[in-house]
């Protein structure tokens, strides 16, 4: 028994300490450190040069009460999430289901839908400008309209979301196609024998078996929505109707004279929103494992 109590040799402990220690150092240094530093800085007024001055919740008050772009950004981030989650993702699923039925030329459609996924969102932003520009854009030229698609702050977020959705649909479609291929055909046959029509077979039999894929797609959708940045930055630096929280963080912190405290406060709000999703997701995962 006495021998058994000492389960780790000195060497094991050393390796464990080094291994774990590295992980902890990296984790603290690269993730927790900057996160806590942001939270700390968000309670200061610092321009990156002078002394750091403690201002408590002042930045949060200024943000919510006196900084007009903030609420537009919150609204746009939510719209973005809603659009990708409720329209682009289901549409991707719809395309995957159609293509999975081996339509004629389905490979062609598949490639066409997947093509935009290889583009960076910044590039999608440049393409969007060629389409939507009011002076030389394709859309106005073809339809004869004179709509200011990108400059009118009441519509530009929608057309930009369509451009972002263009890429997102292909992404989701490919993941679902892979999932659908893995569904046992016997299930569908069984459903057909039981008299289910195609809709019923899909929603009652096939879709529930896609649950692991659904979780992945949901996570991807949330991540895509929260990290959206490059497309609006490429179009107009994320101003005038295209504000996003990530853009405001950049705008305030990266600049000639940084409002580091104020920008950190926005970053903290983005963090809190992200945490909501991360915690929900992780608790879901852990519950399943149990």
């Amino acid at each position: 028994m006495a021998v058994k109590t000492r389960r780790y040799s000195a060497r094991d402990v050393t390796i464990l300490v080094i291994g774990l220690g590295m992980a902890i150092v990296v984790n603290v240094g690269l993730i927790w450190g900057p996160t806590l530093a942001s939270v700390g800085l968000s309670a200061t007024g610092w321009n990156g040069i002078g002394p750091i001055e403690w201002v408590g919740g002042q930045n949060y008050h200024d943000l919510a009460a006196e900084y007009p772009p903030f609420w537009s950004a919150v609204r746009n981030n939510l719209l973005w999430l809603g659009f990708l989650g409720l329209i682009a993702t289901p549409f991707g699923l719809f395309c995957a289901v159609l293509l999975d039925r081996r339509l004629r030329l389905s490979r062609v459609y598949q490639s066409a839908l997947y093509m935009p996924v290889v583009l960076s969102l910044a590039v999608v932003g440049f393409i969007a400008q060629l389409v939507y520009s009011s002076d030389y854009g394709v859309l106005n030229a073809v339809t004869g309209l004179t709509v200011d698609w990108l400059g009118d702050s009441s519509i530009n977020i929608w057309v930009v979301m369509v451009a972002a959705g263009w890429r997102h649909v292909g992404y989701v479609m490919v993941i679902y196609l892979a999932g659908l291929k893995a569904v046992d055909p016997a299930l569908k046959e069984a459903a057909a024998i039981d008299g289910a029509d195609e809709r019923q077979a899909f929603f009652r039999v096939v879709f529930p078996t896609l649950r692991p894929v659904n979780v992945i797609v949901l996570v991807i959708t949330v991540i895509e929505a929260l990290r959206a940045f490059d497309i609006v930055y490429a179009i107009n630096k994320g101003r005038n109707g295209l504000e996003l929280l990530s853009v405001l963080v950049t705008e305030n912190i990266v600049g000639e004279a940084s409002r580091i405290g104020f920008g950190s406060a926005i970053a903290v709000i983005l963090l809190v929103i992200s945490l909501g999703f991360i915690v929900t997701y992780l608790s879901q995962m852990f519950r399943e494992e149990r």
């Binding site: 040069i49 007009p68 400059g151």
Partner: protein, 428 residues
């Protein structure tokens, strides 16, 4: 030279070298094979480094050519993309900056000088001061009365138009706001969009705000408003926006989806009648059409100020506080202040003018000559909104606010109240 100052023998020699050598080299101006910077044997002042934002082809070549004629030290240029350079200036100056760096005059220079990030170059100014007008010296002077900046080139803002279009339609440059409005109305009737306008980039509308503010309230008000000393809810500011709103119907619509280049194109294509912008608008004109480009200064609104002020942003050089080779850097600044250096710049880049009064203007294009004339008539030279105020205020408050005005010109009161509150948070 300033008699009050004992001039050391070395400075005298430097001055002579700076004056004489470049002039000799400019004499053989057709030598366009740039020697690799730093490829020469080092002068007696060692090595000077320059952090340069001249990342575009023409300005880059211009600086390289100017530096080639500097023989007192070896020069190393570190060119960084223009916008990246600007956005990182803060970290750059606190890190390991080069000895000399490219920057802008006015408040934007004072802001960094006041934080102790720049070296005092008053002694350089004692030598070069005679080459510059008082307006340039003022724009190079920090809040403590010392100089921190050496001007090189600048470009005035004015209302540009195509001579051929105006001759055809019989338009005349307006002298007052009423004439300006009448002219715009006539253009509209003639099927032209009177005023080209773009603000997708966020800054061009600042030019319109500036000129209206200076015409209505004068230069001094502009300066103190930009320094955060005036209230944005002041009726004087409201009048600026009211006047602007009155002109809005003559502005090119859908401005927030358009870049200044596209608006410049519309002027070049004769779709619009005139365009308030910096002289760099010439870049949007094909070589053959440039002679057709002309301008007038924005007309008088308040007779008390007439047309005494214009925006004419000055680009130039500063020495970082952490410079290792201060003597070499100062010698280089003197070199870059020489008329001969600036002649190279204006010859290579037709969108700019030389800041030195001694510069040779005989090589100027017609447009450059008119630009120089315009500036010489102005009593006050402003640096443009985002160079005359705190950078964080300009980018995080003024850009969104002016864009909001452009899209909803009717909501002035709430907009001004919002600017004032945000200003209070920044100018604490």
């Amino acid at each position: 030279m300033d008699r009050r100052l004992p001039i050391s023998r070395r400075n005298l020699l430097l001055g002579a070298a700076a004056l004489g050598v470049p002039a000799a080299l400019v004499g053989c101006g057709s030598d366009d094979t740039p020697a690799p910077a730093g490829g020469r044997s080092a002068g007696n002042l060692g090595t000077v480094t320059i952090g340069s934002n001249a990342s575009d082809e023409i300005p880059k070549k211009s600086l390289e050519t100017q530096v080639k004629a500097f023989t007192q030290a070896t020069v190393k240029i570190n060119t960084v993309d223009h916008n990246t350079f600007q956005e990182n200036i803060n970290r750059y100056l606190r890190g390991t900056p080069e000895d000399v760096f490219t920057w802008f005059a006015g408040y934007r220079m004072q802001f960094f000088a006041a934080q102790g990030l720049a070296t005092d170059v008053s002694d350089v100014w004692r030598e070069i001061g005679g080459d510059y007008t008082q307006a340039f010296k003022d724009q190079s002077t920090g809040t403590d009365g010392k100089q921190y900046f050496v001007p090189a080139t600048y470009y005035p803002w004015a209302v540009f138009y195509r001579k051929s279009v105006w001759q055809e339609k019989g338009y005349q440059p307006p002298a007052t706001l009423d004439e300006f409005t009448a002219l715009a109305g006539k253009m509209k009737a003639d099927g032209l969009i009177p005023i080209a306008f773009a603000d997708k980039d966020g800054w061009p509308a600042m030019g319109t705000f500036d000129i209206l503010n200076m015409r209505i309230n004068g230069y001094d008000f502009h300066v103190s408003l930009m320094a955060g000393k005036e209230s944005w809810t002041d009726p004087k500011v409201k009048q600026v926006f009211d006047t602007w709103r009155g002109l809005m119907e003559y502005h090119q619509p859908a401005a927030l989806g358009r870049t200044w280049q596209e608006a410049g194109q519309s002027l070049a294509q004769k779709k619009t009648g005139m365009y308030l912008l910096g002289m760099f608008v010439a870049q949007q004109f094909p070589e053959a059409d440039r002679a057709d480009l002309d301008f007038f200064t924005f007309p008088e609104i308040n007779p008390a100020y007439g047309t005494d002020s214009i925006d004419a942003p000055i680009d130039g050089y500063m020495i970082s506080a952490k410079a290792r080779n201060v003597d070499g850097a100062k010698a280089l600044l003197k070199h870059l202040a020489q008329a001969s250096s600036q002649n190279i710049a204006t010859k290579l880049d037709p969108g700019t003018l030389a800041a030195s009064s001694k510069a040779d203007t005989s090589g100027y294009s017609a447009l450059q000559k008119r630009g120089a004339e315009l500036v010489s008539k102005a009593t006050h030279i402003a640096q443009f909104l985002d160079r005359d105020t705190r950078p964080d205020f300009a980018s995080t408050v003024m850009i969104p606010s002016l864009q909001s005005f452009v899209s909803k010109p009717g909501e002035i009161d709430s907009l001004l109240a919002s600017i004032e509150k945000q200003k209070a948070n920044i100018f604490r």
